[in-house]
Symmetry: C2
Subunit: 345 residues, 2 copies
């Protein structure tokens, strides 16, 4: 097993303190590889980065139309949200329209991401509920489809439930893989996860970006999800989150979605590509840095936006700048040479 290259370095003062290795695949929707860094054939769990594909089923099942779902709700279905008041309110309103109780979400409860939102709960003597789970929007999506089709809602997270079977099947079609044939596990929110090669994941996002190779119904569904994400980037993540900041900067030119354990996916319609990357050790700080570098290489960001989204400063507790998180020099040079703009579009 060959080691993946160093993609990101974390410096402190005069030297590198830590480093992150990983793999990147940028693929065009006809399957042509635009960029391969590291082992892009190795199976990875896409985790939450695959939510935009899972949300396609919410359209295809007819649930989105039947329940008249808005951009807010479709963006929430793709979200790993902060559990801010805006997210919670929207999730609860969605559940109410479905006639369902919050307790029917089977994702489990965890505290909101931000200190201020945690403190607000404590001050009001409240405990976090399943709506606060960063995946609660995706779960509302599953429940919407189950409700619309007339399936049992209980156990909707289990692999054998028709909703999960349908969603896994859809991902398999988008990525040209057989999710049943690869190793699998259980996601943080309880639903099944299937191992997928990074390259196949990038292909699925290229198809998501362009519609190429999808039937007209799926094309329209993918477009609808894409649209909701770029219109409601706050709903996809939240205050100060990288996904939200990047999509605001992109202003419709791309979508990006983070996943646990260092995964990031993206779709860039104009370049006609899908992006999938995984940091070997699971670090988000590195995944964000690499996704920013790839987007910059694809000419999706201005110079100022690139500066803002690629690197980040390491501060110490007292607020002093003590280091930097940045693309590793060799990788950066390699990336820029490989991302020949003539290949794009």
């Amino acid at each position: 097993m060959t080691a993946n290259p160093i993609l990101v370095e974390v410096t402190r003062g005069d030297m590198e303190e830590s480093r992150h290795c990983g793999a990147i695949s940028v693929v065009k929707s006809d399957g042509q590889t635009m960029l391969t860094v590291g082992d892009t054939q190795r199976l990875i769990y896409p985790r939450s980065a695959i939510k935009p594909l899972q949300a396609i089923y919410l359209i295809e099942s007819g649930a989105a139309e039947a329940f008249d779902l808005t951009d807010t709700e479709l963006a929430l279905a793709c979200a790993s949200h902060n559990g801010e008041i805006g997210h919670i309110t929207a999730v609860r309103a969605w559940l109410a329209r479905l006639g369902l109780e919050e307790e029917m979400l089977e994702c489990g409860a965890h505290a909101p991401r931000r200190n201020e939102d945690r403190a607000a709960l404590v001050k009001n003597n409240l405990s976090p509920g399943p709506a606060h789970n960063n995946c609660s929007g995706k779960h509302c999506g599953f429940l919407s489809s189950a409700r619309h089709i007339g399936l049992a809602t209980e156990g909707y997270i289990l692999k054998e439930h028709p909703i999960q079977q349908a969603v896994l099947g859809l991902i398999g079609e988008m990525a040209d893989v057989s999710p049943d044939a690869t190793p699998g596990g259980i996601d943080g929110c309880g639903i099944p996860v299937a191992g997928i090669p990074l390259e196949s994941l990038a292909l699925a996002f290229a198809r998501f970006a362009t519609g190429t190779g999808l039937d007209s119904k799926r094309q329209a569904a993918a477009r609808r999800i894409y649209q909701a994400m770029v219109v409601e980037p706050f709903m996809v993540a939240g205050t100060d989150r990288w996904c939200t900041r990047a999509m605001r900067a992109g202003d419709g030119a791309f979508i990006v979605k983070t996943g646990a354990e260092g995964v990031y996916c993206g779709a860039v319609p104009e370049a006609g590509v899908g992006i999938a990357l995984k940091i070997d050790d699971g670090a988000s700080r590195a995944a964000e840095c690499v996704m920013g570098t790839v987007l910059s290489g694809l000419d999706c960001l201005t110079e100022e936006q690139s500066l803002d989204l690629i690197g980040s400063t390491v501060f110490n507790v007292a607020g002093r700048e003590v280091g930097e998180i940045r693309p590793h020099k060799e990788f950066h040079a390699q990336l820029l040479s490989l991302m020949d703009p003539k290949l794009v579009g």
Copy 2:
């Protein structure tokens, strides 16, 4: 630059999801290498893992005796504590005995580590202060020395302050390095950090463990610090923390100390060795797993303790077991073969 080997794998369901590479050095106090994994010559920042060595100065300066410091306070000087009520109370009492205000701690304030302690502050309408900083005990130590010697306390964190110069010099002597000659930076709590090869760091901890190669005054100081850490493991970290759990399990047989960005150091007097390890990507979950594996290989843990301290279960939000953090198979086998018990002692 050769990549360091994979030391730890994180699994989910049927396959590996993430992996952590790193380097380990186990050295005897005469300089004999017992175990070398990966590049142990590369400079690393020891971060908080070096606190037990920094605390030696607190004894050598005469401050510990002059202020009649207890095991609690000496353990706090070596601590990266949780900011639990027990830690805060002890830090504040120490400052009061020095006649100093909490605001004279220059480490900066951050919230306590555990949710319950954060919530308690919110409920009482309090903000975290510098005493809550996980390094506040170490800073009380610096202030004690400055106060005892009659130095200015303001600016005690700066590299040019005599206290930091003395502490850097002491580390240099213990590790046979010249901290002034290597790259450096600023630590999370504001004090200077110097790059040190992992092997030199392990040597310093071997000397700390055994006293070999130290003058009698430093021998006694090291023994005093060691004693305080094993008597007060709660003060060194806190509830559910790996350092505390491991030292409780060891019952005096070793000390361990974590540092930010995946560093861990340890000292095992009976085996006569020092341990230093660094996870390339900075992950604590991996550093703990590797330190547990090394301690187990050194026969410092029972089988039950090894099980408890080496691996850990990955749970999802709803509390279901979904994966495992464990030593990588190849590394584990290699480690057990290299740690020939006949070499130890």
